[in-house]
């Protein structure tokens, strides 16, 4: 991992974003919703509001810092939930095969056939926008690829000799899946997860952009959405959070790539 320069850059960006999310609000104890200065103050004019103010006179910089917390939290938690749902389904489908596989995969495809963003919008709209419904809907639309990936891996591992040996020695299915198979599927899942966090951040931003964010929490997507309509008068309201989304998603993608290289040395050496 550390040998790939892009991975290192990604890691630095992620660590930076996490530390902003964790420690930033301690440095800026004021709520990002507070109207602190006159509205539409351009950036770099006052030291107290370095990135200017939005349509109501709220500090854009404070919004970015608090927004980092929401964006990263939503990204990570929803990915975690998607893994918790997707990995067992994929593992069972791949391991047991036959009818179980059929049933589980048809169920998965059912979710895959619906455009994921449309489904996420519908879910959030029905459940009423809140941080919980957003995490839940992102998780619901992002677990199917996990399930399919894990299933594929398990299918191939299922026929390996050491798994056959475990079956012959009479180990229970659970034990085989948990101890023999899943650990070996870990590396592609980790790579996928890092990319999923990036996708989830984008999804959350898109939902908030459309006005389906948690109305009590500021997020980057919300800031872009709220500033969009005044972009001709005040570019900074949209540009700074937009750049924040761009950089953090880029960082996560770089990490994903770096991890891929590190965990699949054969692929990276042969592929490049």
């Amino acid at each position: 991992m550390l040998r790939s320069p892009s991975g290192v850059i990604g890691l630095i960006i992620l660590l930076l974003a996490i530390s902003v999310a964790v420690f930033g609000p301690m440095l800026f104890p004021n709520s990002p919703w507070r109207m602190v200065q006159r509205p539409f103050l351009p950036p770099f004019t006052l030291a107290t509001v370095p990135l200017g103010t939005d349509a109501l006179g709220r500090d854009v910089f404070a919004g970015m810092i608090f927004g980092a917390r929401v964006s990263l939290l939503v990204g990570m938690v929803s990915t975690l939930v998607a893994l918790v749902v997707g990995v067992p389904i994929g593992a069972m489908a791949g391991y047991f095969g036959g009818r179980v596989d059929d049933a589980l995969m048809r169920f998965t495809e059912f979710f895959q056939t619906i455009p994921s963003f449309a489904l996420a919008i519908v879910l959030v709209a029905i459940l009423q926008p809140s941080i919980y419904s957003i995490v839940a809907s992102i998780a619901v639309v992002s677990w199917p690829p996990v399930a399919r990936l894990v299933r594929g891996e398990v299918l191939s591992l299922r026929t390996r000799e050491y798994v056959q040996a475990a079956v012959v020695t009479g180990q229970s299915n659970t034990w085989i899946i948990l101890r023999e198979i899943l650990p070996n599927t870990l590396s592609p899942v980790i790579v996928l997860a890092s990319l999923m966090v990036a996708t989830a951040i984008l999804l959350e931003s898109s939902l908030a952009f459309l006005g389906l964010g948690d109305p009590n929490l500021i997020s980057w997507g919300y800031m872009v959405g709220a500033g969009r309509t005044v972009i001709r008068q005040a570019w900074w309201i949209t540009v700074f959070p937009g750049v924040a989304i761009l950089i953090s998603v880029l960082g996560l993608n770089l990490i994903g790539e770096g991890l891929n290289d590190a965990l699949n040395p054969r692929l990276s050496r042969e592929g490049r």
Partner: protein, 516 residues
Amino acid sequence: MSKRVLLGVLLACGLTAPALAQEPKTGGAINAVIQPEPPGLMLAMVQNGPVQMVSGNIFEGLLRYSPKLEPQPELAESWSVSEDAKTYTFKLRKGVTWHDGKPFTAADVLFSLDMLKQTHARARNNLAQVEKVEAPDDYTVVFTLKQPFGPFLGIFEVGSMPMVPKHLYEGTDWKTNPYNNAPVGTGPFMFKEWQKGSFIRLVKNPNYYEKGKPYLDEIYWQIIPDAAARSVAYETGKVDVLPGGSVENFDVPRLSKLKDTCVTGAGWEFFSPLAWLWLNNRQGPLADKRVRQAIMFAIDRDFAKDVIWNGLGKVATGPSASTIKYYTDDVPKYPYDPAKAKALLKEAGYKGEKIRLLPLAYGETWQRWGEAVKQNLQGVGMNIETIATDVAGGNQKIGDWDYDIAFTYLYQYGDPALGVGRNYVSSAIAKGQVFNNVEGYSNPEIDKLFADGAVATPDSKRKEIYEKAQKILVEDVPVAWMLELQFPTIMRCKVKNLITTGIGVNDGFKDAWLDK
């Protein structure tokens, strides 16, 4: 910044125009935005805002109203009131024809009243005090009331009581009548075509009874679903008139700075939209009058006016907008005073209980307003949680009384008996409805004042009653009044005399002309 520019534009266009009155020129077409696309154009059957904006050109009422809400002749050329204020006699204009050439007579008026009682909820309420209507001859209509009803002369505007052609509707199923899709009225413009999703075209009525009017040949109502696209359509010259509310507020300063552009806030005096926060008086901390007063002190309404509404509108002083009859500002005042709000909350023993805030899902302006109010209330220590909903969901929550604070704005129709009382009298508490007394305020004294005020005579007596009611209400704060809203109409300066009445763009372009 924006405020000053706007004021300048208003001064330049709105105020000096009458002084340099020119001779109107005939001809030309106006392109105006209609937002959203109306569900129909038969004003007697559907009464949404955009319906009236278009078909106010096609249909007419017996009266129009000046910006000061004085009745003016339209289909009725004169009227008289009996000594006991129970008999109103209207003399109809002679020589008025429907767009298909048939004459308009008193029989049409009688038929319209019968029809509206079944199809138009507000007309039904307005006519509740009418005992009988008679037509002694073709050009006279006599209304006899059960008891004197002060606001009676205020119910004849086209949207409240449009005249319907008897010969086309009598004996038919009104809902499926083919003329609903190609309405026939007496108005200055005739319906020509409607390309759904694109435009509605009206053409000049050549036989209009006011000689020389209308001046315009055609009106195109352009249907453009996206707010930003509507602004662009104005900038590129595709449309000449943006009626109030058709672009977002923050676009107003930018658009009004454009060359040859005039802005006016006039033309909403009859409706006088007043925005307030419903406060659920039934439960929780808000049941305490002191908490409700604290909310009034905690909210910076000047900020909302200057920043969120770009300086348009007026901070409300109480239940009546200042354009409504018998308005008084001699009531308790609630300036922005967070310290006083905190003190009142403390006195009321508020302990940080959670309070739900329901913003209005009508677009960016209202969302920003919700955020600002939440911030104001949190600033005095209230624990506010914003609930996100769409329009329908919000209406349902409000109707079911499942809220603590909720944004709204309602029309007031010129008279406290028509548009104010319904929000405060206890007889208007009915679950499931959104425009009545949903705050659950109940005060026998207020009930009596509004009951007396509607039927009291003479005017000075009504004034006394309603002023007293305003004082009591403002002291009790059943709801938190925010702003008298203004929906600025943006148009090219070459469009003259577009708004001449208190009903504005909602009652026809018959006086409008283009200075080429």
